[in-house]
Symmetry: C2
Subunit: 438 residues, 2 copies
């Protein structure tokens, strides 16, 4: 039996495992992926700027030196808290004395799960590859169609949600279409791609102060992004999205609006509106023995009674704290100590030379924040190899506007566009003659 089972090897779970491993406590880490994912850069995989392997690191490799920690690659079906066992979907059961739930969050469609098929979200490597393929495919399809209205639809991309992910995606797709793809096609002008960013609340980046929101909006608009705030998405279909009563034809819709905690949270006790389980200040689930939760799956109120935000730094700090506190508790019987969050600032990127950074009263925007954003993210990547390769690719992209990872997965070649009209028969292809200005 493991002393501790940790479910999830994200920022939170990994830190717990490292802390327990350092103390030599028998620990099993369960994850349904074999890799830890650096989610803050996942949008760059979705927009063909980085490759999937740049933001993923094998969990076994990270925990290689913690000999008391073993990694179990598989999916949890349910948790039997009475018997203190985790049931895996493959049928295996894993017994524990202490259970740490760090299974993170998933997309949330506000009760409209049927939208998921038309508006993919961005949480996993597969999500990022799927969005990348769909994004590149909408340009390919537009290049091939002869119908002008259809072409306009295909070259219309909507992003739902004005938080950091939505803003980053909108900025990155704008730069992809305005610069990277500018001279790749013969029949279409990728630079004319319509990009709509929809936010139901009154402003973008609501976690930042108002002037930062205004700055992000202005920068996106300068890149040609249509920013629509105070407007809700009312429906998502295969060829359009309804925004505040208006049907906007779309070739691609990306969902960056809602997150919902991992459904495992509900098995440990009562959850909040976002599906998170409430924990006390020691990160234990109140009224239970040996159950802990942290990161995006946990609801921990700060001094003002608001839940801590779903940020990597919150998850990481909680993981470090719980790893130490639980190790001390197991080895010496010490009482668990309370967690205190130490905000290290919040940053989001809009595009080239444009980012925002905020810590308390310190507010920075523009190219200094942009440079700080890049340095912080490279520093936070796990492993020297990733830091180096990502830096070099960013430098290359900065100098050339090029993006190397423009890969459409092969399984997509035969995917018919669900909304495409029947292909024209006997179309005469007429490439632009040489020397003609475009």
């Amino acid at each position: 039996m493991s002393d501790v089972v940790v479910i999830g090897a994200g920022f939170a779970g990994l830190e717990v495992a490292k802390g327990l491993g350092r103390a030599g406590i028998a620990t099993t880490v369960i994850d349904r992926h074999n890799h830890h994912l650096f989610q803050p850069l996942l949008y760059q995989v979705a927009t063909a700027a980085l490759s999937a392997t740049d933001v993923a690191e094998p969990i076994r490799k990270i925990l290689r030196r913690q000999k008391s920690v073993s990694v179990l690659f598989g999916e949890v079906a349910r948790i039997d808290t009475a018997a203190r066992q985790v049931h895996m979907t493959c049928g295996e059961r894993v017994s524990y004395r202490h259970l740490v739930l760090a299974s993170g969050a998933e997309h949330g469609y506000f009760g409209h799960d049927e939208w998921a098929q038309w508006a993919p979200g961005l949480k996993t490597i597969e999500d990022a590859r799927h969005i990348r393929s769909q994004l590149l495919l909408t340009f390919e399809r537009a290049e091939r169609t002869t119908d002008e209205a259809e072409r306009r639809r295909l070259l219309s991309i909507a992003i739902v949600g004005g938080g950091p992910t939505g803003v980053e995606l909108a900025g990155s797709i704008a730069e992809l279409s305005r610069y990277t793809l500018a001279s790749d096609f013969r029949s279409i002008e990728p630079t004319a791609t319509r990009i709509t960013l929809v936010e139901a609340g009154p402003r973008l980046l609501s976690g930042f102060s108002t002037d930062m929101s205004d700055y992000a909006r202005a920068r996106l608009e300068r890149l040609g992004v249509e920013v629509r705030t105070n407007e809700a998405v009312e429906d998502v279909g295969p060829t359009s999205v309804r925004i505040a009563g208006e049907d906007v034809p779309t070739g691609l819709v990306i969902w960056a609006a809602g997150v919902a905690a991992s459904p495992l949270a509900r098995q440990l006790g009562p959850t909040d509106r976002a599906g998170r389980i409430t924990v006390d200040e020691t990160l234990a689930v109140p009224g239970t023995d040996g159950l802990y939760a942290l990161g995006d799956v946990a609801h921990l109120a700060d001094a003002d009674g608001r839940p801590l935000p779903g940020l990597a730094q919150v998850a990481k700090q909680q993981g470090v704290h719980l790893g130490r506190s639980l190790a001390a508790h197991i080895t010496t019987g010490a009482a668990p100590t309370p967690f205190r969050y130490n905000g290290r600032g919040n940053t989001a990127i809009v595009g080239r030379h444009a980012a925002v950074f905020e810590q308390g009263r310190l507010k920075v925007k523009g190219w200094i924040a942009w440079f700080a954003w890049a340095v912080i993210h490279v520093y936070l990547l796990v492993g020297f190899q990733h830091r180096f390769l990502v830096s070099m690719q960013w430098l290359w992209r900065y100098l050339t506007y090029d993006r190397g990872a423009r890969l459409i997965a092969g399984d997509y070649v035969e995917t018919p566009d669900p909304a495409a009209p029947p292909a024209p028969r006997d179309r005469q292809r007429t490439p632009t003659p040489p020397g003609v200005a475009r």
Copy 2:
């Protein structure tokens, strides 16, 4: 109507398109992938050393400056040579005056297509990702099973075919298991993985001289690879492969034995035993008007009457030749000129410090050939960014034995091992206690 339609954007097709583009000839390049693939390094993607995007370059980007060339992303259903039209699977038809077939080769299972499901081959990015996932999964499954015989089966990998791809895969998998994964697991010893390389012919690397074959065999055996020559694979199943009458239990079988030309070849005329269409020395299909074939899909006899080998340099030289010759023919009416192959040497890599290189009487093996192999392959990569990133990753791997691209695609988590016994119930997980020597 395009003057020329080129089917396939591999080494051959791309060079033809570049040549025609330089002469301003209206050309359409059709490919079922959006990327050109640098196949000589694909085995490194399959063995987690490089990422997929490192060996793929968008076709549109490569041909961006050839304004008379357009790229059509889609699959060819059939060729109507009478009407001079290419029919796409989506229903579109593309008319041409000259057709260049450069659609390459696929796996060939010698009439046993049912083996494909158990013994994946390596031709596309998806193939490489699939093999990588299956390769990493067999270690994951071995770590989880409690049955000793089952564990031995899962840690047994067979590679069918002793040509360059088979030798490279065997060497790379040996190094992955002996070094990279050595301390990643708790229940298994990846270093004990049984690796079998099977070749039906009398020796490995039959395209090289005998002493090179002997050297490759000795180096592989030193890495612990079991090399079986003069033994044919008689059957492939989900859990074993029958080699010369003996059933060898396997966790993974990789097919590197046979190639068959793209089936489109048969639509242009009579083909040889490997499905290749015979062309004359101008690369035209004899007895036709405006039909050309080159690269792996074409059979062109050398001075001794033997077909030229399926090498990148053959395809590339043929492409350069046909691009020029056809451009001159179209613009000035000049008669097509004959192609002469200029062999620039042949190289294959076995492992660290171990490769072979041969050109005529010049034969080099060992670390000089290994270094030459690396320089040649970096040089041949398309684009500075790829050259730089691949070099850096090789340097990193050389220094650390680490491989960064150890990514199991998420869709695999629920894939049950077809041959796995029912999962044990209520198994007690016992991680190695800290401080215990392993």
